[in-house]
Symmetry: C2
Subunit: 150 residues, 2 copies
DNA sequence: GAAATAATGTTGTAAATACAACAAAATATC
DNA sequence: GATATTTTGTTGTATTTACAACATTATTTC
């Protein structure tokens, strides 16, 4: 059994750690960059969908987003037709930080993929997307309280 | 720019979340499975190396390991030649939990890799190892307090 | 259209995570 | 071999994370 998932875990933790350190200088605390980029790129998204997108607990997302709001990076707007939801938008301050997050993200991509050919990068992306789709099915299943059988 | 690293982040968070939920029934709290498998597979490893292996902060590893010890999953043994280090070993209780962790890990691998051919799995493993090696260089660099330039 | 269920959001609480600062032993440097 | 540096480990503190439980609105079912 090739330990593919352990490799993925190592990569993810290392990169997250790097990002958290680097974004401190933009006053983003641990994890916040994850939410802010996605809100900038998916303006009007609601908290619930954002949590699903990031694969993080609903309540964790709730608090991270609240903090982004308090610190003026994003704002929540009520919807006229649906009183339950709050759409998320970056503020000007949030938009201003976005390029730094993107640049860091791009740089980490370049570093991570050093030595891989264009074709290998395409292959990696394709394979990882398929793995992610497989995994998110189980994630939904387990998060909803169901028990995997194995 | 293909968002390869975001795919990796999603996969890693989803799997970690699943594992944490599933290992609760073996009295392992969040993250502990990461350390315990590796101690079982690398008996006598020291805390510092384990943190590097997992890509987690030294102090986080210290506390996770302390908790594993308190709960009787592992033990720390002093070295006769080096007073500074403490080698880590699973206890019988730890060894007994190991098969469950391994089975869960294997099952998640199967789920994650569903639909991929043997050849694709080999390719994925190869590419991910290379990405991991690239990323860990920067992780070491940044964790030591250096600043990446980009 | 009333009742049941699902979707979305919040808060209380417990625990993990990581940074900073420290201590002690080992190793390197002069 | 004394001194400086590195390695390894710990503890104080702040913050994030996630589970449980709840509230409210929307949607489905009868």
């Amino acid at each position: 059994m090739k330990e593919i998932l352990r490799e993925i875990g190592m990569i993810a933790r290392a990169l997250d750690s790097i990002s958290n350190i680097e974004f401190k200088e933009h006053d983003l605390t641990k994890g916040q960059y994850l939410y802010l980029v996605r809100i900038c790129e998916n303006q009007g998204i609601i908290q619930e969908k954002l949590a699903e997108m990031i694969k993080v607990d609903r309540t964790t997302a709730a608090r991270a987003i609240k903090k982004l709001e308090i610190n003026g990076f994003i704002e929540k707007r009520s919807d006229t037709h649906n009183k339950k939801i709050k759409k998320l938008f970056p503020t000007e301050k949030g938009e201003n930080v976005y390029p730094f997050i993107k640049r860091e993200d791009d740089y980490s991509n370049v570093v991570a993929l050093a030595g891989l050919s264009e074709e290998e990068i395409d292959t990696a992306f394709n394979l990882l997307q398929r793995i992610r789709r497989n995994v998110e099915i189980d994630w939904d299943y387990v998060k909803k309280g169901n028990k995997r059988n194995y």
